[in-house]
Symmetry: C2
Subunit: 256 residues, 2 copies
């Protein structure tokens, strides 16, 4: 039986510790192709490059392993991998391990999750992994078994059409995680307080985003609850933005 | 009674004909603040600027009208407007008129719709407008009455929490539109065929995204159907990515 074909990408760039760890896991499971951004692409969401040419570099070609990087966004990487660099569709796309949370509303800003979503849009089962730790030397050891089990489960059973998985790991500061929770996305909001600073050359103001994250509910069915209670969170996600329960309500607007 | 406060943004940049037209409409309805990107930001999705400073320029300050532009993404513009430039919350955020479709899955790539979504995330009713015409001299005249009616309706009745509206106008090549349809997002997919070209200096290849858009269904409840049949499409949208119908199915993974 041939090995499963695994595409790996991320948004922190090909040198980030998170993707290097994920690649090593993937290599133990199947044939691996890596197409990751050349530079950090955090908070790029589902952006694509349409105004500048895409260029890729080959990092390594060996038995069962090929690695490239691209001067684009995470979604560019997935599109370019699937439609340009790979001869056959991957059996799974995995993205991450992202440094920082993609739970709750963070998913909408996330390049890591956009890469997974783009794969699911193309009919390929996909999982995004994130850890709530920005440190370069974040400890992924407690996450490892979960990642292996989730990848194998997806390879064995597949995922429903148009579904990707958003998996987040708590900051690993209390030893082994308590388990896995299948959750929904918590309601939350980033309130931005812009930091005003001044250009030392001319005194003109400039601004940095400096948000405060507020979770609007404390409910044990959410990803934020799971993470706060030291569980790994898994949210099945989809990409139909329709607010179905509002269609009937608004139907009479057709005669405005 | 004080005039409603309207925030206007877009993703094509402050000079695009679409936003200029939308601003003129907004001025007839209320007090207007414009915060638009300095440069075209199409296909930026929900990206935010986190690695470079944000700088804004004041274009005009007059009675009931203030216009600024920002060196950021559409979502940056909305955040910066609400949390930095405006003294009170706008009564409505309108985004567009985008040149090009944001119907169906295009919404996920759209900066125009991301601006509207960001506003809705902050509890502000919002509408994104798009026209299926890339021409600089696109004819917005048939769209005008719909835009006025929709803005007034939202100002009068509000919108349900966490809901924004995605309004698309057909290419106006057959006279007056046939009417408005309240729809759901059609299932569709962009398949990318990358165009390979060669750098004339060194012969090295580079690539341009060159997608083919395929609608996967022909159903009269979708936005693509409405647009194809010369109706204005209106889709209520939300930003909870949870695939609720998959949570129970995956629950047993908690014991993997």
């Amino acid at each position: 039986m041939s090995k499963p074909l695994i595409l790996v990408s991320n948004d922190d760039g090909y040198q980030a510790p998170g993707i290097r760890f994920l690649i090593e896991i993937a290599k133990t499971i199947g044939e691996v192709v890596v197409v990751a951004p050349q530079t950090a692409q955090s908070a790029m969401s589902h952006a694509i490059t349409i105004k500048t040419p895409l260029l890729y570099k080959t990092v390594e070609i060996s038995d069962n392993y090929r690695e490239y990087n691209l001067n684009g966004t995470p979604v560019d990487c997935v599109k370019f991998a699937i439609h340009q660099l790979m001869d056959r569709k991957p059996d799974i796309v995995i993205s991450g391990i992202n440094h920082g949370s993609n739970a709750s509303i963070n998913i909408i800003y996330s390049g890591t999750m956009a890469a997974a979503t783009e794969a699911a849009m193309g009919g390929i089962p996909s999982v995004g992994f994130s850890i709530l730790d920005y440190n370069e030397d974040a400890n992924f050891d407690y996450a490892k078994d979960y990642i292996i089990k989730i990848i194998n489960k997806v390879l064995d059973d597949g995922l429903a059409e148009n579904t990707a998985l958003n998996v987040n790991f708590p900051k690993p500061d209390k030893g082994k995680y308590k388990g896995l929770k299948v959750c929904r996305q918590a309601k939350a909001y980033w309130k931005e307080d812009f930091d005003e600073r001044f250009d030392p050359r001319n005194g003109k103001p400039y601004y940095w985003l400096k948000g405060t994250f507020t979770v609007h509910e404390d409910n044990n069915t959410t990803d934020e609850w799971a993470l706060k209670n030291y569980y790994v969170s898994l949210v099945p996600i989809q990409f139909d933005f329709t607010a179905y329960n509002k269609i009937d309500e608004l139907k009479y607007w057709e005669t405005l």
